[in-house]
Structure formats: C-alpha cells, structure tokens
C-alpha cells in the first residue's frame, strides 16, 4: 500500500512536471512579466491575481507570473534579488518614500518616466502630493497603488450611550477620555508588543505640535532628538499616561489583541490604520466602528496625516523591462486602481476616481486627507530601519516609564548619531 501510494506520488510529480514544461513551451513566444509580491494575506493576494487575469484577457500576448512571499521574509529577500542579474523579477511590490529611496539611492531601480502614455505624465494619474514619495532626483521610480489613513477608531454605540461627540481639539479629546474613564471604560486601547502602534502616537504628537516639516527633518536625521521640541512630544503624551488613560499591560498584546478591547467595548478608542476593519469578524461590530481625526493640539500648525502608501517598482536588472512597463501602465490606470481599492476598502492613488464611488467611511477618510496640508508615511517607513528599530524600543519604554523622558531622548539621540553621522 505504501509502495503504491509513493509510486503514485512520483508519477503525479513527473506528469505535472512534463505538463509544466510543455505549458512553458506554449508560453515561450508571449511577453513575460514576473512580479514578486508581498501581498500574502488572502484578500490582497486574490485581488492582485484577478487584476493580472484581467490584464491577460485584454492582452493575450502577455504571460504574467506572480510569486508571493510572506511580508516579513519579503523585506529581507528583496535585497538578494535586486543586485542579481539572474534572480531579479520584472516588478516588485514596495513601499513609497524613504524605503523606495533606499534602493534608488543604490542605483538598483529603473526610472518609470516613459510609462504614462503619449503626452501624459505622473500628474495625469496621481495627486501632486504623491510626487515627494514617488520621485527621487527628479525622476519617477515608484508607482503608487493604494493607501490608507490613520485615525482614532471608536464604537458609535459607546459614544452614543455616553453622549459623546467626536472630539476635534485637544481639550475635547481629554474630556472624552475622562468621561470614558468615569464610566468604566479604558479610554485608549493599544497593543504595543510589536512596537509600531506606539510609533504612530509619537508621529502624531510630533505632527500636531511641530508640524510635518520638522517631523521629516527628524526622520532624516537632520534634527537632534534632544531638541526641546521632541521633548514636548513626550511631555504632551505623558499627560495621558499620568491620568491612566491607556490600557494596562499593553506591551503584552499584539495590535490585533489590542483591537479586541475596542471590539468588545472594554476600551473606548484606538489610534490605528484603516486596516483595523480587516480584523473585525463580527459584522455588527464592523458597522458600529467609526473614526475621527487625531485631535488638533496647536491650531497654528498645518495639519498633517499619515498615509502609508504601497505600490510597485521595476528593478534595474529586470529581464523584461519593456513588457514590465506596459503592465505598470495598466497598474496606473483608473480601472485597475479602482478594482484594487474597491476590493480591499483602500483608497486608490489614481486621482481620477470620483470620491462618491467609495463607501461612506472611505469617503470620510479621503475628505480628511484632502483637507490636510501634508502627508507622511509612518515612523518606520520615513526613517532608516536601524534608527526605527532602536527608537521604537525607547518609545515603548517611555509608555511604561514616563518619568524617564531625558534618558529616553538621549538614547534616541545616540542612535541618530550612529545611524546618520
């Protein structure tokens, strides 16, 4: 029996191999494009696959292959593909801003200036604000796909029950926290085990108090962390910590575990990206979720928001750059951008998609971003990995020991020196 099954397996393998070779033979005269993708979660993976299928239907002379890798592994593996003439794919999925610039800087990416079609340019497809995260040294290297926003998520039923309004100012926000606490809710949930959730708080306090320009200088290592303006960030944050508004033992929880406290009404609010909607299993809870903008602390500071953006790049060593560019053009079009965003509740980067196409919550997010002056990516996307790694430790440490601001700032500054000087 055992022998039979193993010979069966062998013959199946041989047959599929033979079929594979003959299929490859059939596809030989087609234009090949190989995409390496980090969209490993079921929903985005399926969406990209369908997008490719649609493209192949419209362009039967193309043969597009997707290789999917787990998100975390991908970030390491891409460093082995890019410099290699043999292993390089034609298109890679990647992140806008500093992370894209890292590869452009090393000469590993191909400019995309000729993919837009006759007489058209980047700005015919994407908002101006996206230039700063897609163009480096005057040339476009990054094709934005979609993005999402951050906000304070809450449950409408809880706010209704306590007669709470979405706070706009810092003062109102503190009142909401206090009222939630009085009524037995943990005002703010957070799961800081993997640190980045705390980094969102750091970013927002810095954006609200010091503005996007200062923040980006800090991210690029041009400002010292011992600057008093950075200390203000922690002092403001300390107010919330001192009043006990944050969830206890938050360093024990992943971001999803932190979200559970919001979903089951133990906690009132959660500063999180739009993708929090992806992890709600209960439809009733999903409908009850709403969000508001991080409160304005200083009205004189131009409003900035975090809008992490994902997209595509073509490596310098891509074996089929011409075919890849044709597919990239397709990825930039209104239809394909809308298809992707609509399937995943993201916001498409393409500027020609009408706001009214989106669902109500996405429209609200879109309006929020349209009314802001600047956008940033995220702490660990805007600064260098080695800086982000050590600084996020310090940020979480601050949340647990708010009394150690000075030591924490010094530790962050020491790392800035090491990474940037």
């Amino acid at each position: 029996m055992k022998k039979l099954s193993s010979s069966l397996i062998v013959s199946v393998l041989v047959i599929s191999f033979v079929i594979g070779i003959s299929l490859a033979g059939l596809a030989a005269d087609k234009k090949k494009v190989v995409i390496n993708s980090y969209m490993a979660d079921p929903a985005p993976k399926e969406t990209l696959k369908q997008l490719v299928n649609r493209f192949e239907e419209e362009h039967p002379d193309f043969d597009v292959t997707i290789n999917t890798y787990p998100h975390e592994d991908y970030k390491t593996l891409i460093r082995t593909w890019l410099p290699s003439k043999k292993a390089s794919p034609d298109i890679v999925t990647w992140f806008a801003g500093e992370r894209a610039n890292t590869f452009v800087d090393k000469g590993l990416m191909m400019p995309l200036d000729d993919i837009w079609g006759e007489g058209k340019s980047f700005e015919d497809y994407f908002p101006k604000a996206f230039k700063s995260i897609s163009q480096f040294e005057g040339e476009t290297y990054f094709l934005p796909q979609s993005w999402y926003w951050y906000g304070f998520w809450y449950r409408e039923s809880v706010f209704d029950k306590l007669n709470l309004e979405e706070p706009v100012t810092w003062k109102q926000f503190l009142d909401v926290c206090e009222k939630l606490k009085e009524n037995g809710y943990t005002p703010i949930s957070i799961g800081s085990k993997f640190r980045w959730t705390a980094a969102a708080w750091f970013d927002y306090f810095d954006l609200r108090l010091n503005g996007a320009d200062f923040h980006m200088k800090l991210m690029k290592g041009e400002v010292k962390y011992t600057n008093p303006k950075v200390k203000d960030v922690f002092e403001k944050w300390k107010v919330l910590l001192d009043r006990g508004y944050f969830l206890d033992d938050h360093t024990s929880y992943s971001w999803q575990e932190g979200a559970k406290f919001l979903f089951n009404k133990e906690a009132g609010m959660y500063l999180m990206g739009q993708f929090i909607q992806d992890v709600v299993s209960d439809e009733k809870v999903k409908k009850d979720l709403n969000f508001f903008r991080f409160p304005i602390i200083d009205a004189s500071v131009p409003i900035a928001e975090e809008t992490p953006t994902d997209g595509y790049m073509i490596p310098k060593n891509a074996p089929h750059p011409e075919a890849a560019k044709e597919f990239m053009h397709y990825l930039a079009t209104q239809q394909s951008q809308w298809f992707f965003a609509d399937n995943l509740n993201r916001i498409a980067a393409n500027r020609n998609i009408e706001e009214t196409n989106y669902g109500p919550l996405v429209q609200k997010g879109l309006r929020m971003i349209n009314r802001s002056d600047k956008v940033t990516q995220f702490y660990d996307r805007d600064t260098k990995p080695a800086m982000a790694d050590k600084a996020m430790d310090q940020i979480v440490k601050f949340m647990v020991n708010p009394g150690q601001i000075d030591q924490i700032l010094q530790a962050m500054e020491a790392q800035r020196k090491k990474v940037f000087e």
């Binding site: 085990k193 206890d248 033992d249 024990s252 990995p385 080695a386 790694d389 310090q394």
Partner: protein, 290 residues
Amino acid sequence: MNKRRWAPFKFLLIPVILYAIWVIAPIFYTIFLSFTQWDGLTAPTFIGIGNFVDLFNDPIFYTALFNNIKWLLVYVLVPLPLGLAFAMFFNRSLPGVKIFKTAIYLPLTLSFVVLSQIWTWIYQPKYGAINVTLEAIGLGNLTVAWLSNSDIVTYSLIVVGCWPQTAYTMVLFLAGLQNVPTEVMEAAKVDGANRWQRFWKVILPLLKPATIIAVAVTIIQSLRMFAIVNVMTRGGPFRSSEVLANYMYVEGFKNYSMGYASALAVILFLIILLFVSVYLYQIFKTEVEY
C-alpha cells in the same frame, strides 16, 4: 589492503565536502563579515574592529549577554537535575510508567514555535490560564503581566524552555541508565550499599558519558536560544528579554546591519566554544574505568 584502507575516506568524502561548504566555510565567511560594514545590497566595506568596538559600547549587547547567562544558569540548575530525577524514577517496570514517560516526553515533539504560542496564551495577563487560576483561588494579588514586566519576562521565557529541556535530558539519562550493568548494581546491593550510596557511588559515575552529553547540550541550547524569545516577545518589552541569537537576527535581517550581526555571531560562537571546551577538557581529563 591499500584499497581497503582508503575505503572509509571515500565514503566520508561527500559528507566532508558538504560539511565544509555548509558549515565550515560560512563560519569563516561570518568571521570575515564581522570586520566589515555590509547592508546586504552593495559590496561589504572593511572597517577593521569597528563592529566590535560598537558592540562593547552597546547596552543591548550586555542585556542580551546577561540574559543568556540567566538562561544558562537556570538551564543547568533546573532541567538537568529534574531530567535525571525523572529518569531514575521511570527506569523501572511499573504499571503505567510508559504513559507517564510519554507524557513528559511529549513537549519535546512540539515545535518551539507551537510551544511558544501556547505559552503566550497561558501567560496572557487578562484571560491567560495562570492569572485566571490565581484569581480563582483567591491569589489575585499574585497576578503579573508575565511577558511585559521587564523584571520577570526573561524568567517567564526560561520556564517555557525548561519544559522541553527537562524531557530532553530525561531521555538522555534514560539511555545512559540502560548502559549501567546490572551486575555492578547487584554487587553494590550485596555489599550492603543503600539506595543513596548506590546512586552517588555507582550510578552517577557510570552515567558520566550521558551526563557529559546532557550538560554540553544544555549549555549550547541555553546560549543559542532563539525561537522562544523571537516568537513570544521578540526581545521585548524594550529589549529586556533580548538574547544574543535574537539580537543577531534582528540586526542582520531587520536592520540590515550584516557586519554588526556577524560580529555578534562571532562573539556568540566564541562564548559557546569557551564553555564547551572548558567543560569537555575537564571531563576528558578524568576518564572513568570499571
């Protein structure tokens, strides 16, 4: 005759080549990389002992080193004697002994990742098994956030490691006990040695080969501990549970400081080499005969 003499070497050739390519060569390559700065993208640049200077000024390196020492001490003090005790107890034919033996051995068959995930739930501060039980029996004031209290997190992790490690040493000692000749044991009995004396004067010396392996494996396991830390805390909160192997991984594959990670690897390699060679030297100096 000549042909025969060379036969073993021919058989050895392939494993030796593989070993050289996949084990020996990477060791030397890592040593080379530890003197360079390398982001994994462009060619490594030689920077001399710069990485090692940084390392000795790096507070996280010392945290990781001390945590590894904690792992080492607890690993030698707890699972090793406990494994021996279980082995002694189970080394007889009692009804049901096989079931208990299997039960204790079972955690060793689980992957460390699975084990860590299970214990993450057990340690969960609000709904985890430990804290819920403590609350239920009226010891609510003893509940702690096991994985986010920076003073105890390392010990919480070591407990997880001790579980399979005890099973492992038990198996090694059980195998060793099979080799204790019954004649010697009977002779000791006839000579009037009591249980305690038989254990200390007869069994333990005869278990020496098994003990050597058990101690060496325990030391190596504790110093290269990675999976439990990486899955359960990733070295957090704020690096208080960091160990050298995880720090090396984070520096190399998350922060892309391959040179720095290689320097950490070299240090870890030297520490393990030191412990193991000192230990083996002590052992082989005094060979037991019977």
